[in-house]
């Protein structure tokens, strides 16, 4: 720091932007290393009110920005996909997206796929029983009030419940279906796509049923029905593939479409979501 400082005229011209390039450059160079002159610029800017920038407001925004926790990886992914920030937060806050749930669901699938890939006869049945119901269980837990305490305040706000649930469902499917597909590729003797329609169909059934009962109950009922059907077929001779082949696929498609239609028709009942006990 030298004894030399910007004189008042130069300072005024600098703040008012009536200086020349060289004078401005000289002032800026000096300002970088001179704290007293910087303070004078700050003061002059306040007096002349040339600085239309509301620095107090900028400070508030800055403080907000650093105090808000960094969004989760999943939330940032959603925002990257074009979802507005507040919706990304609503979708990502679902407990189903907490890593534990997803890891658990993936582990179950992986275990079943592994068993099937080992060629164990029961393994294929296990995969057949587990894979299609995992997505609908995850979807149900993504908006069940019992699983997700954050949901109750969300549903009393004017935010449309339908939109929230659909967004979450799409997010779950975007995560779960590739997983089902991936594990399906490991299972021998079957095209991976065959697992998709049952999975989508069950999700639609859960959505529709959740206009009457809680989503989790619906998902558990669907899963039990499916498990019963699979175990019934397992006691009979023949390939387990039959249940997801040919006409069965058409059936799942019809099931998905019909259930989704019911869900849309009865969407107003969603506001009556209550904890299941």
């Amino acid at each position: 720091m030298t004894g030399w400082h910007l004189d008042d005229d130069v300072l005024r011209r600098y703040v008012e932007r009536t200086d020349s390039l060289t004078e401005g450059a000289s002032a800026e160079q000096h300002l970088l290393s001179c704290e007293p002159c910087r303070a004078r610029v700050n003061a002059a800017a306040g007096v002349i009110e040339l600085s239309v920038i509301d620095l107090a407001a900028v400070w508030d925004r800055t403080r907000d920005a650093i105090e808000v926790a960094r969004p989760s990886v999943f939330e940032r992914l959603l925002r990257g996909a074009g979802l507005p920030a507040h919706e990304a937060r609503l979708v990502a806050v679902a407990s189903a997206f907490r890593g534990v749930w997803l890891t658990g669901a993936a582990a179950v699938l992986a275990f079943a796929a592994l068993a099937a890939a080992m060629g164990h006869a029961r393994g294929l049945w296990l995969f057949l029983a587990v894979a299609p119901v995992v997505p609908c269980l995850v979807v149900a837990s993504s908006y069940d009030p019992w699983m997700d305490p954050a949901l109750e305040p969300e549903l009393v706000t004017p935010y449309p419940a339908l939109r929230l649930i659909l967004l979450r469902t799409i997010a779950v499917l975007a995560l779960a279906l590739p997983a089902v597909l991936l594990f399906g590729l490991v299972v021998p003797g079957e095209t991976a796509f065959a697992w998709l329609l049952p999975a989508v169909g069950f999700v639609a059934v859960v959505l529709a049923a959740s206009t009457w009962v809680s989503p989790l109950r619906a998902a558990i009922a669907v899963s039990c029905a499916w498990l019963a059907l699979v175990s019934l077929l397992a006691t009979r001779p023949g390939s387990p593939d039959a249940i997801i082949q040919g006409r069965a696929q058409t059936g799942f498609l019809v099931l998905a479409a019909a259930s989704f239609g019911i869900f849309l028709l009865r969407r107003r009942q969603l506001r009556q979501l209550r904890p299941w006990r």
Partner: protein
Amino acid sequence: MDSGPSDETLLAAVAERDMSAFRTLYERHAGWLAIRLTRRCNDRDLVADAIQDTFVAVWQRPRGFRGDGDIAAWLWGIAIRRLVSRLRTRRGVAAVFEHPGAAPAAEDQVLLSVEYGDIGQALARLSPEMRAVIQAVVLDGLSAKEAAQLLHVPVSSVKTRLHRAKAHLRAVLAEGSS
């Protein structure tokens, strides 16, 4: 004048998550940064965003300051780059080429030439576009790419203009000395 803890002390406190030190640092520097940034970009909202980005970056990485030089210079380096990256996402925002009323009065011209010698006059005779490039590259220390983003011109234009401006200055100075 404002006496108190030095910027270095404040920055060390910010690294320890001291919010009041951060506030002091903001109050000390946001003002002149805003003034200097508005000399580079006319859009005040963008400048406000750039200031916010700058201080958020300072809060997140206070140890980015390596201890060489002034903290003010370090802050300016962050701020001008944040402005450039904000400008990159926005089209149609004019960077400042010419200051309003930038033509200095005759006596100022004389004073300038006394104070800065021939170089001042030579710079004053550059076209606004060339001056903007000189300002961005030579005075603000931006790369050609960053300057191109700030001024909304292709990188090749920045290089050409810089080259021409240097040639022009060299010619004017040679003329003056002979």
